[in-house]
């Protein structure tokens, strides 16, 4: 039972992060390898807002979320916009460089020590007993809830929202979309903000749950296989992929070797690339486009 809960929590962590990868990839065909770093930056921003708005945790959290949305838009405006039209690989390397830069900045500003935003906010993280003898931390439960809400609203937004439809159009054919009067730069900026937003939620909740340090970038990177296993251009796929990766990780750690934690998602990734490189729900012609 505890294992199932662990899987659910880990899967929702991965899913919440993976939808950031999927959003950006689906809309602009860019693989954002700085997603983990952006997520970490958001969590550090929470640390700062927590100290400036001491005693108002909700206010601090929303301020940090607002800031990270701004960061996402700025990343597009000042960096990725310059990379449009370049080789897909150049854009990926630009995000890698951005990640290195952000890692440096976070250490310079907030130091490399493990920090605990939960104590700075004055929040407690009680453990809740579930039926069946399992336990889940409050933040873990929140994570699952947030992921469910995020996916629900994202799917609805992409399906029914005016800008959501535009985003899908831009992802399918940027040229035609632009000719129909869709503002591609605005679309891409929104995709980056949305992806940073979901990443920020994941980053903050993880930081509230288990503290904040440079290792968070690894969690971000480990969520990437989840996105790819499901298919890089499919949101529903990301959910399925996260479940598979999380289940594999939790079970292998429990039954085989705890050290495997770092490597299991990548093993799943390799297996998927061998069997079905475009992912469970991805479109097949994606492969030739990149």
């Amino acid at each position: 039972m505890q294992l199932a809960v662990n899987i659910a929590v880990l899967a929702s962590i991965y899913a919440l992060i993976a939808c950031g990868y999927v959003l950006i990839y689906r809309v602009s065909r860019v693989l954002n390898l700085a997603h983990g770093e952006l997520m970490m930056l958001a969590a550090y921003l929470l640390l700062t807002t927590a100290s400036s708005f001491a005693g108002h945790p909700l206010f601090a959290i929303s301020a940090a979320i607002g800031l990270s949305i701004l960061v996402g838009a700025m990343v597009y405006l000042f960096l990725m916009r310059k990379m449009t039209g370049e080789m897909a690989l150049a854009a990926v390397l630009a995000t890698v460089a951005l990640g290195v830069l952000l890692r440096g900045i976070t250490v310079i500003v907030w130091s490399a020590q493990q920090q605990y935003p939960a104590t700075a906010l004055g929040l407690v993280n009680p453990s809740i007993a579930l039926p069946g003898g399992a336990r889940i931390s409050l933040c873990g439960a929140l994570l699952v809830a947030c992921t469910a809400v995020a996916y629900g609203s994202l799917l609805a937004f992409l399906r029914f929202g005016r800008w959501g439809v535009r985003m899908r159009a831009a992802g399918q054919s940027p040229l035609l979309a632009a000719q129909r009067g869709i503002n591609l730069h605005a679309i891409y900026a929104i995709a980056w903000s949305l992806s940073t937003f979901t990443g920020a939620m994941a980053g903050m909740l993880i930081a509230l749950d288990s503290g904040l340090g440079q290792t968070m970038t690894i969690i971000g990177l480990k969520a990437f296989p989840a996105a790819l296993v499901g298919g890089l251009d499919s949101l529903a796929g990301a959910l399925a992929g996260s479940l598979i990766v999380a289940a594999a990780e939790v079970l292998l750690i429990h039954y085989v070797d705890p050290l495997l934690s770092e490597v299991v998602p990548f093993l799943v990734l390799i297996a998927m690339l061998v069997v079905r490189p475009w992912g469970l729900f991805g479109t097949r012609e994606e492969l030739d486009r990149v």
């Binding site: 693989l31 960096l79 310059k82 990379m83 370049e86 897909a88 690989l89 150049a90 990926v92 390397l93 630009a94 890698v96 460089a97 951005l98 990640g99 290195v100 830069l101 952000l102 890692r103 440096g104 900045i105 976070t106 250490v107 310079i108 130091s111 490399a112 990177l221 990437f224 296989p225 790819l228 050290l259 495997l260 770092e262 490597v263 990548f266 093993l267 990734l269 390799i270 690339l273 061998v274 490189p277 492969l287 030739d288 990149v290």
Partner: protein
């Protein structure tokens, strides 16, 4: 290999002439001067500078190997650190477990590298671009995991210590001796790369990079040549890793993080894609960069506050430089160099004549 047209006077009238590595007497003289400079360098420079030069030479081997794969064959790899780690660990493990001398561990490292080259290369038969990059990234983590597992299971949790190699009955510890060993390695790698590139496989890689379908139609074995590129590149990288292990006297999985892969990719980007000279320049740049930043930081007032987070300052500056190169100068240092060259070649004119102009 495509050569830039000469300013004047030097015409190549046969293929043999076109393929020659050293084309003009002037080039020969410059090369001789460079060689003399490289050979006398450790006797003039301080041990610190010699060590820096050795690091740069070591980086060159890896960078040229990656350039061969990414810059010429067009196969992206983000798992370079994994291959370096494989070479280093092969040398380390063989030394620890069997006490093998370095003339046995180096070929063993090359063999392991060749094997891993096949493993890293197999996805390339099916995947391209981004997906290939991702698969090499995943393999990097796999290799790092195996190395870490060995370290912890055998009780070398802090790392494997390797004795310096013994050549002619003497242990090599002198920085100068190391400089010459690494110089030899770098020059040999350079020759291997240049000769490969002007051979049949080099031309095959250029064709594959340009267009796989056309290459296949021209009768080039795409799969075999891709794998060959991976195997040769991985062998060279693995050798560089083994040399690195001996040079440091120490192997630990921490040294081969993802950041190292990023650094190598940065080398070939900053240097300039598709140019062996670019790999060399990029390797020098990236190796010297942290020291440069440190020197600059010491000149700035109030730098003392950052002494504790120097590595983070390095990270940030490195990210900025990489972004600047990607955005402003995608051709890299070689692009700058060529532009300067063209400026002087064309002087006093600004532009090339339109007719017969070739780029």
């Amino acid at each position: 290999m495509s050569r830039l047209p000469r300013a004047s006077g030097h015409f190549r009238t046969s293929y043999a002439q076109d393929f020659r590595l050293i084309q003009t007497p002037l080039e020969r003289r410059w090369l001789a001067a460079l060689l003399v400079a490289l050979l006398t360098f450790p006797f003039i420079a301080s041990p610190f500078l010699t060590d820096l030069a050795s690091q740069a030479l070591l980086a060159m081997v890896g960078a040229m190997a990656l350039m061969l794969l990414t810059g010429f064959a067009g196969q992206v790899s983000l798992g370079h650190a994994g291959l370096l780690a494989a070479g280093a660990f092969t040398a380390g493990i063989l030394f620890r477990e069997t006490g093998a001398p370095f003339w046995m561990t180096l070929p063993a490292a090359a063999l392991v590298g060749a094997f891993l080259g096949v493993v890293f290369g197999l996805p390339s038969l099916r995947l391209r671009g981004l997906y290939l990059a991702v698969s090499t990234l995943a393999l990097h983590f796999l290799v790092a995991y195996v190395g870490g597992e060995y370290e912890s299971k055998r009780g070398f949790s802090t790392g494997i210590v390797i004795d310096p190699p013994v050549i002619a009955g003497k242990a090599v510890t002198d920085p100068r001796a190391w400089y010459f060993i690494l110089l030899t390695a770098a020059v040999l790698t350079l020759l291997v790369c240049l000769n490969l590139l002007r051979s049949r496989s080099g031309r095959a890689w250029a064709a594959i990079r340009a267009n796989e379908t056309v290459a296949e139609a021209l009768g080039i074995g795409v799969a075999a040549n891709k794998l060959l590129a991976f195997v040769i590149s991985s062998m060279l990288t693995s050798l560089a890793g083994a040399l690195f292990a001996y040079y440091r006297g120490f192997v630990s999985v921490e040294a081969f993080s993802l950041f190292l892969s990023i650094q190598y990719v940065a080398m070939i980007i900053i240097g300039g894609m598709g140019s062996v000279l670019g790999a060399i320049l990029g390797a020098v740049f990236v190796t010297l960069f942290p020291y440069l930043i440190e020197a600059v930081m010491q000149l700035l007032p109030g730098a003392g506050a950052y002494a504790g987070v120097m590595f983070a300052v390095n990270y940030a500056a490195f990210g900025v430089v990489m972004i600047l190169f990607l955005v402003l100068e995608p051709q890299g240092l070689v692009g700058i160099w060529r532009r300067v060259q063209t400026y002087f070649l064309l002087w006093p004119f600004k532009h090339k004549p339109v007719a017969g102009a070739r780029r």
